[in-house]
Symmetry: C2
Subunit: 502 residues, 2 copies
């Protein structure tokens, strides 16, 4: 018995020292009782302590380890609860037999599952997604496109509204959300969209999501089958392609021209399930879809029962004239699903967006959104609803429109002073970025990389094209999150790099 105590004691002391060494820091060192538990557990799993072997009493072991008995008792009890030990009445505590249950001898019909590419453990769709990932590792600074200046967000007002709700925290604000979202917010959004975007809708047609990505995911899951096609604009937002592919929808590029997406150039004999478009501000080129194009698109969609997915991501910021009416507003057949987001108007980290769905789909979508994602954060939605109802949303947009208009001007001046009229600027009348066209012999990927190592984000235009052989070259330059004073110096650095290639 004593020898057994001795051996186990030495063993445990050794284990504990070793484990103490490997702990990175004191903060993560485990309490002694956990260490003993861990040490015995590892010894059992590695069969150092064989099944049937009797453990010394907790008193004896505690004495051997010079620890309080509770420390050891705790470890024993935990190991009993987890089935590593068993007690036999009157006999004591023993190592339980935990060898795996035997499986019947089987010869699988199929080989072990491994990634066809053999490259990684990822599935083919996973590997594709990661390899082609378009998301930037840097999300802030000159000239990150599509990011608003969050430092100008009225956070005092937001805090006040937030605290109001947290003081009297009602259960319904903290538990799972109701399908479709917090109704007062849905009402506020519907009221806003009717006036500001000429969207025809009532509150029940507004489905709250966490943003464009979730909106698109929900739409294609509810309305699309695996293998369906979606027409996307070429070029288009990388996220649209990634989300579509991840749920088995094949994106097919359709060329854009001065009037926007030109479905005439698509294969009209194979109507797609979805047509994804950015009519108010083509992403990334920035043109507006002409009225006759809009009506052609709607007619085609109605005839062939395709769904039009309108991505209206940043048209609140239109400099000069007022924002243009949405495509949804001219749809009389109920074929348009309108997606919007607060990522550009307020701040991206809010992760609140919405879909306006045809009335006939409202119930299905509000069920679908809670079934698939368990609804979203009602307490945040309540704050946003107040923020809109009290008029802070409208005035923040008005204020930021002036800020961005000024930054746009500064960037355009900097471009002019460096290049005169030798480069083409597109899409500068709306949104948070413009596109700087480059001669087709320039490699915009190389320029982008060189800029990046000079600390400047300038995303290459050709990256947004699906067709490998596009001759379009350029850079997306976002000015939304760049302080006025930084715009010129940052662009001068970029210009120097461009001039080496032009």
């Amino acid at each position: 018995m004593t020898s057994r105590i001795a051996s186990l004691t030495d063993f445990l002391l050794m284990q504990i020292e070793r484990s103490a060494e490997v702990r990175e820091s004191a903060t993560t060192r485990k309490p002694l009782n956990r260490q003993i538990y861990q040490a015995i557990r590892e010894a059992i799993l590695s069969q150092l302590l064989p099944a049937g072997w009797q453990l010394p009493s907790s008193r004896d072991l505690a004495r051997g380890l010079a620890l309080s008995r509770n420390t050891v008792t705790y470890a024993y009890e935990q190991l009993l609860a987890e089935g590593y030990l068993e007690t036999r009445a009157g006999a004591g505590t023993f190592i339980a037999d935990t060898t795996p249950d035997q499986l019947p001898e089987t010869h699988p019909h199929t080989a072990p599952l491994i990634d066809p590419s053999g490259q990684s453990e990822l599935s083919a769709r996973g590997a594709k997604l990661v390899q082609q990932a378009g998301v930037s590792d840097l999300q802030w600074g000159a000239f990150m496109p599509g990011v608003p200046d969050v430092t100008l967000f009225p956070n005092k007002v937001w805090s006040r509204l937030q605290n109001k709700h947290w003081r009297r925290s009602q259960a319904e604000l903290l538990t799972y959300g109701q399908g479709g979202g917090y109704h007062p917010l849905r009402t506020a959004i519907a009221d806003y969209l009717r006036v500001a975007r000429s969207v025809n809708c009532n509150a029940d047609q507004v489905i709250i999501t966490t943003g464009i990505h979730q909106s698109l995911d929900l739409i294609v899951k509810l309305l699309g089958e695996y293998g369906d096609t979606a027409w996307v604009e070429d070029p288009c937002y990388w996220g649209t392609r990634s989300v579509l592919s991840s749920v088995g929808i094949n994106p097919v590029g359709v060329a854009v021209d001065a009037e926007g997406m030109n479905i005439r150039s698509a294969n009209l004999r194979e109507p797609p399930r979805f047509i994804c478009t950015t009519p108010s501000h083509q992403y990334p080129l920035g043109m507006v879809m002409s009225l006759s194009r809009r009506r052609m698109l709607l007619e085609y969609a109605a005839t062939h029962k395709s769904w039009v997915i309108e991505d209206d991501y940043d048209s609140e910021f239109r400099y000069g004239s007022r924002p243009l009416a949405s495509l949804q507003g001219t749809d009389t057949q109920g074929r348009v699903l309108y997606m919007g987001t607060f990522s550009k108007t307020l701040f991206p980290g809010l992760r609140i967006g919405f879909i306006v769905v045809p009335e006939s789909l409202a119930t299905a979508f509000s069920t679908g959104v809670s079934e698939l994602y368990r609804g979203s954060q009602v307490f945040l939605q309540a704050v946003l609803a107040d923020f809109m109802r009290e008029g802070h949303f409208a005035s923040h947009i008005r204020r930021m429109r002036l800020v961005y208009a000024e930054r746009l001007q500064l960037l355009q001046d900097a471009i002019k002073d460096n290049f005169g009229d030798t480069v083409e600027i597109t899409g500068g009348d709306t949104g948070l970025h413009l596109t700087l066209g480059l001669p087709s012999h320039c490699d915009d990927f190389v320029i982008s990389r060189e800029a990046r190592s000079a600390g400047i984000i300038a995303r290459p235009l050709s990256r947004y094209y699906m067709s490998e052989n596009t001759t379009s070259r350029g850079l997306l330059l976002g000015y939304g999150c760049v302080p006025n004073a930084h715009i010129r110096p940052a662009f001068d650095v970029l210009a120097a790099i461009i001039k080496k290639h032009i």
Copy 2:
């Protein structure tokens, strides 16, 4: 000219009155200039005002309508910007030709796309999702399973931490999140899991998501192909099945017994891509997977390169003994993806969960999460990180464990007093609900419906089974969000209903 003004004037006045009538409320009535814009726009779209027709000057029309000229000018400018009108130099303003561009005559190869079921406009997968939706329309009250008592959440502490961050709102807290989530939170979670759940991980293996649903969605998108199989426990959580099906993974039920998921009863010759299991607290029945089962499962997964998805949703609340070690902690082959959530420990509306992935997958997953969902709310993650670092998380769990233990006792007593030992109670030693077994001749759906109309949530056990012909009947009774005083009266009402069927 005058006649033209007159006619247009009358027409517009009529339109405006009509539109004024249909406005639901004064708050949503549009400003006059919008109404004129709208009226002319509708008239053009409905061809009441033909292309080429000349509009009166804004001055003349304003006089005719007895409005300020600006009001009319505004409407004209907006219509010009949107392409409904065109100006001809020196001639004036005309209705533009906005008839849709003609499409080449096409006879599609495929018939118009409609839902095969013909029932709705939804796709087959969408229709299935909505028809089989498991989400409850009520999320609060006796006896909603899986919902914690959010009214006991320390919201003052939370508010304080929240305000601290909002006062000095840094850009990185409000813009798009970095892949994988806010690093201090990932560290806090890793430290917690190592000690409390015996999970082997470092911070980089922790991927922040919006909860179990998004975690599962991400895992199967990155590691699974369309058409792959996933073994799920039968019965299991409805959300697991819905999310899997929505991304093209086929859930195959595997029976559970007293030791948990029994993969021996599965078709071992067809190794699945995924094995979804709840080893610490089987959902909904509540048993713990035995150690030898765990090791059998891990061996099988390692041999056949299947991924084990461990859903550890509520085992922090273990009454009597300490929480049991995770399955991930005994995995030596890196086949386990461990999913956790703060929905049960803090509050569901928080929508923060996490995956612990094998080290080899950490980079792919942190890229994937921002590529697919644009990361999540860093400002909330920062608050949660402080909440954990300052020890509020641990103490809230300790406190709630006592609260729930007491409620469990009250519910068990109420059951005993009504039924003695004639009904079986399972899964009551952990989590936020127990399962009340019923004789196989009882229709638990009917009982559930009757209870619901008596204002009581009692979800039918058979609903959680995949196999139609299961003979298991029972009710899931959640006590987490039921105040002590309500438990007995609510159960007495339920008991009366049950007795009519037993």
